[in-house]
Structures are given as C-alpha cells and as structure tokens.
C-alpha cells in the first residue's frame, strides 16, 4: 500500500545517489516539483531515463545531479534546444553526461518489456538508421516465418517519478488525458514516487483515457498542487507556454541559469517558494531583465 508523505521525505526515501530515475511525462503531467526536490537534496550521479527529456531534465542536468541519460528526444517542446543538456553533451559542463539514445518506439518497447517482466521487447524498428549501432539493439528472426525484427532490452528503472491528478485516501492514483508511458514506467520500476494535484475520496477522471495505478503498485505519494508547472495537469492547470519560451533565455547562459536555480529551487525551502514567485510574476524576471 502507498504511504503519504511530504515531497521532501518521499525523495529522501526513494532517490539515492547513483539511482536510475525515470521522471516521465509526455509534455503532460511532468513531475517538476519532484525534480526540484531532487536538485534541492543535491542528489548525484543519477542515471536519468525519459523518452522526452525537457526543461526539468535541463534543470537536473544543469545542476550537476546526473552522469547519464537514456532518452529518445531531448528538447524544449515548441521552443528549441535544451541548453543545459547541450552544454553537458557538447562541453561536459557542469559534468560529462553519458548518453544512450533510442527511437520513441524503441524506448516504449523497452519500458513495456520492463512492465511485463520480459527480458526484452520486439519491434519492427531501427531499420537503416545510425541509432542501432549506438544502442544495445539486436536483430532476431521470427521462428515461424523468418521475418526479422529488432529486439531491445527491458528497461527497469530504480525509481519512477510521476505526477498525477488525483490520489484517493487508500493511495490509488488516478490520471487521465495524455498518459504517455507513465503506467509502463510505474510498473517497470522498482519503486514509484507520485506527486498529485489533490487527494480525493473517490477518483473522478475529468477527461479521456483515464488510468489508475492501484495503491499497492505505488510506494510514496506526496500531495503537491500545481506540481507539474510549467507543464499541465488536465482538469487542474493549463500549460504555461510563456515559461517554456522564457526558459530558453534562462538556460542559455550558465550564470543566469545558476542564479535562477539558486533563487527558486536550491535556495528555496520547498515548491511553495517557486509557486509564490510564479504568482507574483517574478519567476521569469531574470529572462526579462536583459
């Protein structure tokens, strides 16, 4: 059964230096508050996993918490590059980052194999491109008709870190809308940390594609309203497109980045300071000032 805890306690309990951590979300329900807490607690040497690393991984990588990244697309959605990710890969700043990259279909098959307890997954993929030789891909033949398919090893992170809309009092987690690979990640990982917008008596999806993670598949839940900002939580918050645009300017400069992180994340007591700055309109002031 899932236990409820503060976000500080949840991260301290589940994320260790050296952990393989998957903070997932396909532009929706991205666990920013949890990512901030990982940075605040100064975790080191993490292997980050995610299909679509975006601004939160830019922040974690730029803060020197990670030594490796397993991914398929890393960018600021609708805006452009992740400058901290690029600085790490291109210049080894603030620390070198070992990358292992796949296609989306390959990552999805890896997570699915992990969630299914299989040693590998198969897909009609990795044909004719240069990804195959950069990743751990095998080709196997169908024992029935000889057709060749790609095989990819199961992906089983130590910790899945997710944001969802609701948890009920028994610790069942409800999410809906675009749910990406979140169910597969939760079921593939050894431990599951979930932040939620709200605790409710009964899960009540307010959109399509409703899913439930039963309490017994979740380890720790922290209630963190607006915890997916600047991404969104369908039915609760909308995407802060302005923030994503401003992030480009903040992350482009090492010093501005560090100053921003110090002010709103590292030097803050919790996610509340960040939300207060957001409400006061000062969160992206560093990007306005030049």
């Amino acid at each position: 059964m899932a236990e409820f805890a503060s976000l500080h306690e949840a991260v301290a309990e589940l994320v260790s230096d050296g952990s393989t951590v998957a903070m997932e979300g396909f532009t929706h329900l991205i666990p920013f508050a949890a990512g901030h807490e990982v940075i605040r607690q100064g975790k080191r040497d993490l292997t980050l996993v995610r299909m679509t690393p975006d601004v939160i991984y830019d922040q974690v990588i730029g803060s020197g918490c990670a030594s490796a990244l397993i991914f398929s697309w890393g960018g600021n959605p609708g805006v452009g590059s992740l400058h901290r990710l690029r600085d790490a890969v291109e210049n080894g700043y603030p620390a070198p980052l070992v990358i292992e990259e796949h296609s989306h279909a390959g990552m999805a098959a890896r997570y699915t194999a992990g969630a299914s307890g299989l040693p590998f997954g198969i897909l009609d993929g990795y044909l004719g491109n240069d990804l195959a030789e950069r990743s751990n891909i095998a080709v196997i033949e169908s024992p029935f008709d000889g057709r060749r398919v790609a095989a990819v090893p199961a992906l089983e992170p130590d910790v899945a870190v997710l944001h969802a809309q609701q948890a009920d009092r028994r610790g069942n987690v409800g999410l809906w809308g675009i749910t990406g690979v979140q169910r597969e990640v939760a079921l593939a990982s050894s431990a599951v940390l979930v932040t939620v917008e709200e605790m409710v008596d009964v899960l009540e999806p307010r959109g399509p594609n409703a899913a439930v993670l039963p309490s017994w598949t979740v380890d720790v839940i922290a209630v963190v309203p607006r915890g997916s900002h600047p991404s969104y939580s369908m039915g609760y918050t909308t995407r802060d497109n302005v923030f994503y645009t401003r992030w480009d300017k903040i992350a482009r400069d090492r010093q501005v980045f560090t100053q921003w992180m110090d002010e709103f994340v590292v030097g803050a007591s919790d996610f509340g300071s960040y939300l207060a700055a957001l409400d006061a309109g000062t969160l992206t002031a560093l990007a306005d000032d030049d």
């Binding site: 299909m51 960018g75 999805a108 990406g180 959109g207």
Partner: protein, 266 residues
C-alpha cells in the same frame, strides 16, 4: 503579381497540405507539419485522420498545439491511447498512410538527421534526437518531408542518419514496409526521388522562384526533372484559413498577444 502576398512558411504549409488526401491517416509532427496537416483538414480534407505521437488519434484541434502533448489534442480526439500503443498498434501495424516529418538536415537520398552535427562522440551541435521519426520513416505508407532549403540543411550526406530515406547508396529500404520520402517540400520548391536512383530532384518551383535559386540552396549538384512544374499560388481560401488558424492559435496561447509586449516593455 496579382496574387496576395504570402510568406515562405505559408507556401510551405499550403503546398504540403495539398499533398494530403481526404480520408488518409496522417502521423503528424509538431511545427510546420502540424500546421500543414490541420490546414488540409480545414480545407479539402475534412476527413483526414490526424495522429500525434502523444497518443491522440483523430484529433481536430481548434488551435495549433505548441507541444506534441497539448491538452487541446486530447480533448478533441476520437480516442487517446498510451505511447507504447500508438507505436505498436497504430504505426507499426501499418495503419498510417502518410508520415509528416521535418529534420535539421536532409541528404540527396532523403535521409534525415535530427541527432547531431559533426562527430557523434564530439558533436559540434547536439540536436534533440530522433524521437518518433525513425519508425515513421520506415512504417508509414509514405513520408512527406518539410524543410527550409539551404546548403546547411540540404547536404550531400548527413552526418548521422536518424531516419531512413533511401540509405547512403539510395537503395537502402530493404525490409521496410513504407515507400519512404515520396516528396520533399521546401520554401523554394518541391523535390521528389528519381524513380531509378532515388536521388532527390527538383520537380517544381514555387511562384517567383528560379531553378538557379534552388540549385544554389542545395548542397549537391541538384538534378532537375525533365518537365519542371510550377507550384500553383496559394488561393485566397487557403491563405485565409491558414491565417485564421494561426490567429486563433496566437490568441489562445496568449504568447504574442499578452506576453511579448510586456516583455518588450520590460
């Protein structure tokens, strides 16, 4: 000229939209591909089925999504599925007629690079990566590529093949079920693979664009079709529908309307 003035992005979107037929199932990327696919849906192809890799199927966004996972896409979809499912049950199973792709670079055999400029292990520019494109490139019935044309983007051979066109020798599609890039739409004209060599050649130029301009913007000795075509200028309707869509988008997302001015005054 008598036609209404238009931008190079607008003609790219309009020409790409014309390549999408009513009733086709289209796997759409963010940016110009999304703009073109929705323009097609709002003009001649109302029954086109748009799929985004975030898992939204048959979506009819009223405004353009800024990210591949905007709530708008989910709220206006016939159904929303998981990401593993969108790739396995829908793309891989051969249910997608047309894939719309873009990239940082394309080469003369239609191979796409969105991974790295320079050496992989010591990159000059680290790009976002391949995302969903590698399997769209091999599994969609055909692929439409949209890319602004210059010698930096149209190169003889890409540094890294993120998504297969016709391979490094033009004959590299063994084992793939889709036809690959059947058309490349740029801000200057339209390219198609030569039926024998699969090398991209110019088949049409947009209004006001000379063949020599396209040649100058191509990193290899560009072949030109025997019977060169001329892109029909955007119609009033096409331009109006596209601009209305973009205006709705601007207002909905609030970026330019409310933020940029504040920023400029800041």
């Amino acid at each position: 000229m008598t036609e209404t003035a238009y931008t190079s992005n607008e003609i790219m979107s309009i020409v790409a939209a014309r390549h999408l037929n009513n009733g086709q199932v289209c796997f759409v990327g963010i940016g110009l591909p999304s703009e073109a696919a929705n323009l097609a849906r709002l003009t001649h192809a109302p029954e086109v089925v748009l799929i985004y890799e975030s898992g939204t199927i048959g979506t009819r966004p009223d405004v353009l999504p800024l990210s591949i996972g905007d709530g708008e896409l989910a709220e206006r979809a016939d159904l929303v599925v998981s990401v593993p499912e969108i790739f396995a049950y829908w793309l891989q199973a051969g249910r997608v007629d047309v894939g719309f792709l873009s990239a940082a670079q394309i080469d003369r055999f239609g191979n796409l690079n969105s991974t790295v400029i320079g050496d992989y292990d010591d990159p000059k520019v680290r790009l976002p990566g391949a995302g969903g494109a590698p399997e769209i490139a091999t599994l969609a019935g055909e692929v439409i590529v949209m890319l602004r044309q210059s010698t930096r983007t149209f190169v003889p051979e890409v540094d890294f093949i993120s998504s297969l066109g016709f391979g490094r020798d033009g004959q590299g599609r063994t084992g793939t079920s889709g036809k690959g890039p059947t058309v490349v739409i740029t801000d200057l004209g339209v390219l198609k693979p030569d039926p024998n060599t699969n090398e991209l050649m110019l088949v049409a130029t947009h209004p006001g664009i000379e063949v020599s301009e396209v040649e100058a913007a191509t990193g290899w000795q560009l072949g030109v079709a025997d019977s060169m075509g001329r892109t029909e200028a955007p119609t009033e309707v096409e331009l109006q529908v596209l601009r209305d869509l973009k205006e709705r988008t601007r207002v909905a997302h609030g970026e330019d309307a409310t933020v940029r001015p504040a920023h400029r005054s800041g």
